[in-house]
C-alpha cells in the first residue's frame, strides 16, 4: 500500500465513523446505515489481494471501544464480512448495480446477524427487530458510497498501475 492509499483508507474510515455515530433524532436511529461495514466491503472489493485482514480487526476493535460492547465483537463480524467479500469479489464486481445492491444488503444483514448472535451469547439479547432495518438503508446507500470512493481513488491514487 502506498502512503497515499493508506491516507485515503484512513480518511474514509474516519468519515464513516463520523456518519455512523452522528447523533440523530430517535426516529432515525434505526435507519442509520452501517457506514463502517460498507466502507470495509468497498475496500475488500477494490484492494482484493492487497487487503490486509488486520484492517477489519483494528476498525472493529475501535467500534467496540466506541460502543462499549465486548472487545472483539465488531472485529469478528467485520473480519467474517470481509472474508466473504474477498471470497466472492469477482462475482460481486461483475454484478449489475441492482444485483450488487441486493447482495450488499444481504451481506450487511449477515454482519448484523453475527453481532446479534454474539449479543445473545453474552446474555444481552436484542428483542427489537427494527435493529435489522439498518441493513436495508445500508443497501440503498451502497451505490453512492461506491461511486464517491471510486471517484476519490481515481483522483488521488492510481490503483491499476500498482
Amino acid at each position: 500500500m502506498t502512503y497515499r492509499l493508506m491516507f485515503i483508507v484512513f480518511l474514509s474510515f474516519l468519515l464513516a465513523g463520523l456518519l455512523q455515530f452522528l447523533p440523530v433524532s430517535e426516529l432515525l436511529t434505526i435507519w442509520v446505515p452501517q457506514w463502517v461495514a460498507l466502507v470495509i466491503v468497498y475496500w475488500a472489493l477494490v484492494l482484493d489481494d492487497r487487503f490486509k485482514l488486520l484492517l477489519p480487526c483494528f476498525v472493529g476493535l475501535c467500534l467496540d471501544a466506541m460502543n462499549g460492547t465486548i472487545l472483539g465483537q465488531h472485529a469478528l463480524a467485520l473480519l467474517l464480512l470481509s472474508f466473504i467479500v474477498l471470497k466472492n469479489a469477482k462475482q460481486l464486481r461483475r454484478a449489475g448495480r441492482i444485483q450488487q445492491v441486493v447482495e450488499i444488503g444481504f451481506l450487511i444483514l449477515g454482519y448484523q446477524f453475527i453481532l446479534f448472535l454474539i449479543q445473545g451469547v453474552i446474555g444481552q439479547q436484542l428483542t427489537d427487530w427494527s435493529y435489522f432495518a439498518a441493513s436495508l438503508s445500508s443497501a440503498i446507500i451502497w451505490p453512492w458510497v461506491s461511486v464517491v470512493l471510486d471517484d476519490c481513488c481515481r483522483r488521488f491514487v492510481k490503483l491499476k498501475e500498482e
Binding site: L22, K52, M66
Partner: protein, 297 residues
C-alpha cells in the same frame, strides 16, 4: 506483516477469528483487556468531541437567537425558583442537624454529603444494545473509576472507564449494573439490576411475603458502599406474582431521565475514612479495589 502471503485466506481468517473470540472471552469473563480498551478509547477522543460539535452549535444558536426580552423573562423565573429553593433549604438544614443528632443517639455513622462535579454527555448515536454514555470530564478533572453519576431526578449509573478527557458511564439499565436499594416506605432492602437499554429495571430476589407495593419509591441504600445513600433510583410500576416461583417479577421505572439528561453530576468523596478502610480490607485484590468490584456489585 503478520502473515505471509502464501498462506491461504481461509487459514488467516480462521487464525484471526480464533484470536478475536479469545479476546471476547477474556473481556467478558475476566477484566484483563481493559488496558486495550483504554488505549483505544484515547484514540477515539477526537472523534467523540467532533461528534458533539453539531449539538454544541445548536445550543449556541439557541442562546444567540434568543431575544433580550426572553432572556430577561427566563432570568425572573430562575430567580423565583432560586428563592423557593432557598426557603426549602432552610428547613433542610434544620432537619439535617436533627437527623445527625438522632443518628448520634443511635450510635450509627453519620451521612456524608458528596462533592459534586458537573459534566455533560457527549452526544453520539451508539448501538441500540448499548447502555453506556460518554461524559466530557476525564481523569484530568479528577474523575475516577467507580464514581457515581446522578441527574436532577435520580441515580444514572457509575463510571467504568476513564481517559484524560472523557469518561464512560455505565447506566443502571445495563445488565451488568446492580444497585442496592431500599424501599422508601417500608425500609425493605433489595437489589435493582438492569435489563438492557430502554427497558425497565428489575428488582430481584423479592419473595411474595416481602413488604413491597406498586408505586413505592426505591432509594439507594449505600450497602456495597458504592452508591451514596438516599438518592432515588426508581419507582415500582409492575409486580408479577408467578405461581411456583420463589421470587416475584418486579419492574421498576428509573427516576433519572436516562434518555433526556445532558447535564449530570458526578459524585465523589462521599465515603468517610472508616468505611473506605473497611472496604479496602474486604477487597480481595488490595491494589485495585475499583477494577475488581467495578461493574458488578
Amino acid at each position: 506483516m503478520l502473515f505471509r502471503h502464501s498462506t491461504g485466506l481461509g487459514l488467516r481468517v480462521l487464525c484471526l477469528s480464533v484470536l478475536m473470540v479469545g479476546l471476547m472471552v477474556a473481556d467478558h469473563h475476566y477484566r484483563y483487556v481493559n488496558n486495550v480498551r483504554n488505549a483505544l478509547s484515547v484514540l477515539l477522543i477526537p472523534l467523540q468531541y467532533t461528534l458533539n460539535t453539531p449539538v454544541q452549535a445548536i445550543d449556541w444558536l439557541k442562546v444567540s437567537a434568543a431575544t433580550q426580552h426572553e432572556l430577561a423573562r427566563e432570568n425572573v423565573q430562575l430567580k423565583q425558583q432560586l428563592l423557593l429553593m432557598q426557603v426549602s433549604l432552610q428547613q433542610l438544614i434544620n432537619m439535617q442537624q436533627e437527623n445527625s443528632q438522632l443518628r448520634a443517639l443511635l450510635k450509627s455513622s453519620s451521612r456524608i454529603n458528596g462533592q459534586f462535579q458537573e459534566a455533560k454527555l457527549l452526544a453520539m448515536n451508539l448501538e441500540p444494545t448499548s447502555a453506556e454514555v460518554v461524559l466530557d470530564k476525564g481523569s484530568r478533572e479528577g474523575v475516577a473509576l467507580g464514581q457515581v453519576v446522578i441527574d436532577v431526578s435520580g441515580v444514572m449509573g457509575q463510571i467504568i472507564g476513564v481517559t484524560p478527557f472523557t469518561s464512560r458511564l455505565l447506566l443502571i439499565t445495563d445488565p451488568r449494573s446492580g444497585v442496592p436499594v431500599q424501599d422508601d416506605r417500608s425500609g425493605f432492602q433489595a437489589i435493582i439490576v438492569g435489563a438492557g437499554a430502554n427497558r425497565p429495571l428489575s428488582l430481584i430476589h423479592v419473595a411474595e411475603t416481602d413488604d413491597i407495593k406498586v408505586g413505592d419509591l426505591l432509594v439507594t441504600s449505600s450497602l456495597g458502599a458504592r452508591y451514596p445513600e438516599g438518592y432515588p433510583v426508581g419507582q415500582i410500576t409492575h409486580i408479577d406474582k408467578m405461581s411456583g416461583e420463589p421470587f416475584m417479577n418486579i419492574e421498576v421505572q428509573p427516576s433519572a431521565l436516562l434518555e433526556q439528561s445532558r447535564r449530570v453530576l458526578i459524585v465523589s468523596h462521599y465515603l468517610n475514612d472508616d468505611t473506605k478502610k473497611m472496604l479496602y480490607e474486604m477487597t480481595p485484590v488490595p491494589t485495585k479495589p475499583a477494577a475488581t468490584s467495578g461493574a458488578k456489585q
